[in-house]
Symmetry: C2
Subunit: 193 residues, 2 copies
């Protein structure tokens, strides 16, 4: 995809709309021009503030282009009165397990401070579940940081079950930061081309 195709002038594909507290919220796929505002939302958060950079950092542009080029990624922005009110990324993951189930994974959910507590988060999730089911997904999944106890309660209220432990491993170019002892290190070949 060339930059010409993702200029802000191109209309953003409409995905749906919600009525929240009497206000219309318009859902679209994110455009390149939305990236700084999405990054600002990601950073306006107790965990996010320590791990995001300026929204104009070229790493975000590259990541946006990878998302936008992949039909299994749907980066959604929710706007109320022209203002960005919320964002989330849906990833569709085909798999063999659970009878060949298509999973819809939700990452990077944020509701802008001015729009919290008004029901937008719940309406947005219900819309995402409908959208994902319409695309054939039979399971929606997400992980929430253990420290976000309010978020876990919110998801449980929507019907999510906290059945799993979510685990993360930072990777470095030289491999994992594993702490396992050296004698268990296997002989490894580099991945093929």
């Amino acid at each position: 995809m060339t930059n010409d195709q993702i200029t802000p002038e191109q209309p953003q594909p409409h995905l749906g709309s919600l009525a929240v507290g009497g206000q219309e919220v318009i859902l679209t796929r994110a455009a390149a021009a939305d990236v700084p505002a999405i990054v600002a939302l990601l950073a306006d958060d107790v965990l996010g503030q320590g791990r995001e950079h300026a929204g104009t950092d070229p790493r975000y542009t590259e990541a946006f282009e990878a998302i936008d080029a992949d039909p299994n990624q749907v980066l959604v922005v929710a706007r109320a009165g022209g203002e960005m009110a919320a964002t989330a990324q849906l990833t569709f993951i085909p798999g063999l397990s659970r009878g060949g189930a298509l999973r819809a994974q939700v990452e990077a959910v944020r509701v802008a401070a001015d729009y919290r507590g008004a029901g937008l988060g719940e309406a947005f999730f219900r819309w995402m579940a409908t959208y994902a089911a319409d695309r054939g997904a039979t399971l929606m999944q997400l992980t929430s940081d253990r420290s976000r106890t309010d978020a876990v309660r919110f998801y449980e209220r929507l019907g999510f079950v906290a059945s799993h432990v979510g685990m993360k491993l930072p990777l470095h170019a030289s491999g994992p930061t594993a702490s396992a002892s050296a004698e268990s290190e296997p002989h490894q070949t580099r991945p093929g081309p």
Copy 2:
């Protein structure tokens, strides 16, 4: 992709190899012909046995074709002496958060009963971490059912941190199975085309 391109006669792309307990383990991308054996591995499990069908069920063929057509999915099979010893699926997820981090998610990990306890699982994970880092991922993530306490300890030994709660919501064609009350139901439009 036509079926001709995924016949068992086509050589499976080689990904790497491991030496585990003096035996060579060959890693390849899964081919269509591997699907029944992968499904048998998924089903040979206390949780999997209740949720898988016969490996020849067309839902698995369709799911395999979706995986195989998506460059962000890598369904790996590990063979020792021609026998399927392990499988796992890697999904590469581009995203804006954490500075535009590319995530490598691991799903559907299984080691065949005859190969457990010999270090294959650890060698396989170390290989996956290297492969993912070589493709530019800076974070590997997975969820493990809370009831698999041995698995959680295994992942912690590899350096994974159990920082998150993994939550799942079954989806039905009509939307989520949410238990929230009707008065909070938002007005929703159907997703656009």
